[in-house]
């Protein structure tokens, strides 16, 4: 974990509300693992706390984040330009454990992403070899508000993933929740019980995913977003309620953000 002033080396707009930035930061890009995040200091006194963002891609000397403009902080961040310098702390938290194909059966894994949840899963998808199991390719379930917000789809297909999509407004793929899509896929002829599920997205989506995983008895790892003040484990702001007897509330920023789905106490 380091604290660095990072130069923005490129900026890309997926849409006016989905923006990605690349930062020059070898110290981070060479050590960060999928599922880990960074805390970005957004310029301006009114942005008191740093904002957490998952790393979605790395190159040798740089890493990328992709974010949706949802409030004043991301609005400001979206206005940053190539050459601007931001102070960043990272990499932070624990990433996704790499458990992919079931070695005996050759059964592939599945990724389920909702909204900006694709950020960390895209990084994971790049690091895991999609390969092809006995059954099928690994599948990415991609959910978003609408067609425009379904990012990284072409890249994932090119890498060899099968990508199934759902949108809230039906503007692309199936209309409705990505978890419903996953659920009906599971019970469809093409469906299979994956070796492991990785998921990131809104709380409700994760809860549903966890439920399906439990029913199907599939190992499932989810990345949880909680409001964070420090991002490095000192403030206890990001607590996630777990079934752990010793440590009921775990810190999303330190013990997480990736948790085993069965650990979480949903309310």
């Amino acid at each position: 974990m380091t604290r660095l002033n990072c130069n923005i080396i490129s900026r890309k707009e997926f849409s006016s509300r989905y923006i990605s930035l690349s930062f020059f930061a070898p110290a981070i890009s060479r050590s960060v693992m999928p599922g880990q995040f960074v805390m970005v200091k957004i310029p301006g006194e009114r942005f008191f706390l740093r904002r957490p963002f998952s790393v979605c891609r790395t190159a040798r000397d740089s890493f990328d984040i992709v974010f949706k403009v949802v409030g004043a902080g991301t609005e400001k961040l979206g206005q940053m330009k190539k050459g601007d310098i931001l102070n960043i702390i990272g990499p932070l938290g624990n990433g996704y454990p790499f458990m992919t194909h079931d070695p005996k059966q050759g059964i592939p894994f599945v990724l389920i992403a909702g909204g900006t949840g694709i950020a960390s899963l895209y990084f994971l998808a790049r690091c895991l070899k999609p390969g092809r199991g006995k059954v099928s390719s690994p599948v990415v379930f991609l959910g978003a508000r609408n067609r425009k917000e379904l990012i990284f789809r072409p890249e994932l297909i090119k890498m060899g993933y099968e990508v199934l999509t759902a949108t809230d407004d039906g503007s692309a793929g199936r209309k409705g929740f990505v978890t419903d899509l996953f659920s009906s896929w599971l019970h469809s002829p093409k469906g299979f019980r994956p070796s492991v599920i990785y998921s990131c997205g809104p709380r409700l989506m994760l809860k549903k995913t966890a439920k399906i995983a439990e029913e199907e008895n599939v190992p499932c790892f989810i990345s949880m977003e909680e409001k964070m003040a420090c991002g490095i484990g000192v403030c206890m702001g990001c607590a996630v309620k777990t079934s752990d007897k010793k440590e009921e509330y775990k810190r999303a920023c330190k013990e997480g953000p990736v948790f085993r789905a069965e650990e979480i106490e949903w309310d």
């Binding site: 974990m1 380091t2 604290r3 200091k41 006194e45 009114r46 942005f47 008191f48 706390l49 740093r50 409030g71 102070n87 702390i89 909680e226 409001k227 964070m228 003040a229 420090c230 490095i232 484990g233 000192v234 403030c235 206890m236 702001g237 990001c238 607590a239 996630v240 309620k241 010793k246 440590e247 009921e248 509330y249 330190k254 309310d267």
Partner: protein, 310 residues
């Protein structure tokens, strides 16, 4: 212009400079070790611990404002045992900076148990947290809430006296700003044997945390910290420094060297950085450097012209 002398002695705790961490904003001291040189700090104050571990409040716990922070952590902590067996030994391995253990509880016995447990643990002092606004009970419950007993001079007196009997470590009593007259509480703590005072803890505050249509479904009650409380904290520190003889550790919105100097000028012997650590972990080191580089520590207790309410 050489480095200025900044060492201070806080009720027997020898600090190489007057800048310490505020409880609850620096974990158990271990987490920041990657980012800053702990040896540079004047002292490290741990998260408040209770005899038993506590899991704290529900989410959301954090609400950001443009000028401060509302938190309702609810004293999530690892408990006395793990502090002693895991955290303190680990911290001792990586730094020699004096460590002050902050303790909280629900009964006098809780506090006594913690101070006894801390004897011989190597901590340089004890901070008595009797001013946390974030623990269940609160304004509707009439039952004594030990974590806000610093709102009552008599109860403050009795608890401090009892704790003091059971420890030889320097005892720093942390006060709540949410009182009509903080000098009265300060005097009670002093009379009961406190070796130093620490002010201030967070202010009880509220915000609606959601946005849009959901907004009013999530009122968040918690403690307000950060730059917005500085003018209130400074007033209280100034007042208390003029009414007690024991040293005062001051905090509340300290974000830079100038803020720190304001509190030292108002009469504090040391200052603590809380919310500032979140904004930037480097702030505390910048503050220490600022005090060393510019003019050293300001002369204290020197205000002559006074205006307004004073």
């Amino acid at each position: 212009m050489g480095l200025k002398q900044t060492a201070v002695n806080l009720a027997g705790i020898k600090m190489k400079n007057p800048v310490m961490t505020a409880s609850g904003t620096f974990g158990y001291g271990l987490e920041y070790a990657d980012l800053i040189d702990l040896d540079k700090l004047g002292a490290i104050v741990t998260k408040t611990i209770t005899p038993e571990p506590r899991c704290g409040n529900q989410q959301p716990r954090i609400f950001e404002l443009p000028y401060g922070l509302i938190n309702t952590i609810g004293l999530q902590n690892v408990g006395l045992e793990r502090l002693l067996s895991e955290k303190l030994p680990a911290l001792r391995k990586i730094t020699r900076t004096p460590v002050i253990a902050s303790i909280g509880g629900y009964t006098t016995a809780d506090y006594v148990k913690s101070v006894k447990g801390l004897a011989g643990s190597g901590v340089a002092g004890i901070e008595l947290n009797i001013s946390c606004p974030n623990v269940k009970t609160g304004y509707k419950l009439k039952k004594t809430n030990y974590l806000t007993i610093s709102q009552n001079p008599g109860k403050t007196y009795r608890l401090v006296r009892e704790v003091k009997k059971n420890t030889r470590l320097p005892l720093i009593v942390k006060l709540s700003p949410n009182v009509t007259d903080i000098t009265e509480i300060a005097a009670s703590a002093e009379k009961a044997g406190a070796d130093a005072l620490c002010l201030i803890n967070t202010f009880p505050a509220m915000a609606y945390a959601g946005s849009g249509k959901d907004k009013y479904s999530v009122p968040i009650f918690g403690g307000l910290s950060g730059p917005c409380i500085k003018p209130l904290a400074l007033r209280m520190v100034h007042q208390v420094c003029r009414t007690v003889k024991i040293p005062v550790v001051a905090m509340g919105g300290i974000m830079n060297g100038e803020d720190a100097r304001d509190f030292l000028q108002a009469g504090a012997v040391a200052v603590a950085v809380g919310t500032g650590n979140f904004v930037d972990p480097g702030i505390i080191i910048d503050i220490i450097n600022a005090l060393q580089d510019t003019d050293g520590l300001p002369p204290r207790h020197k205000d002559t012209k006074k205006k307004g309410i004073s």
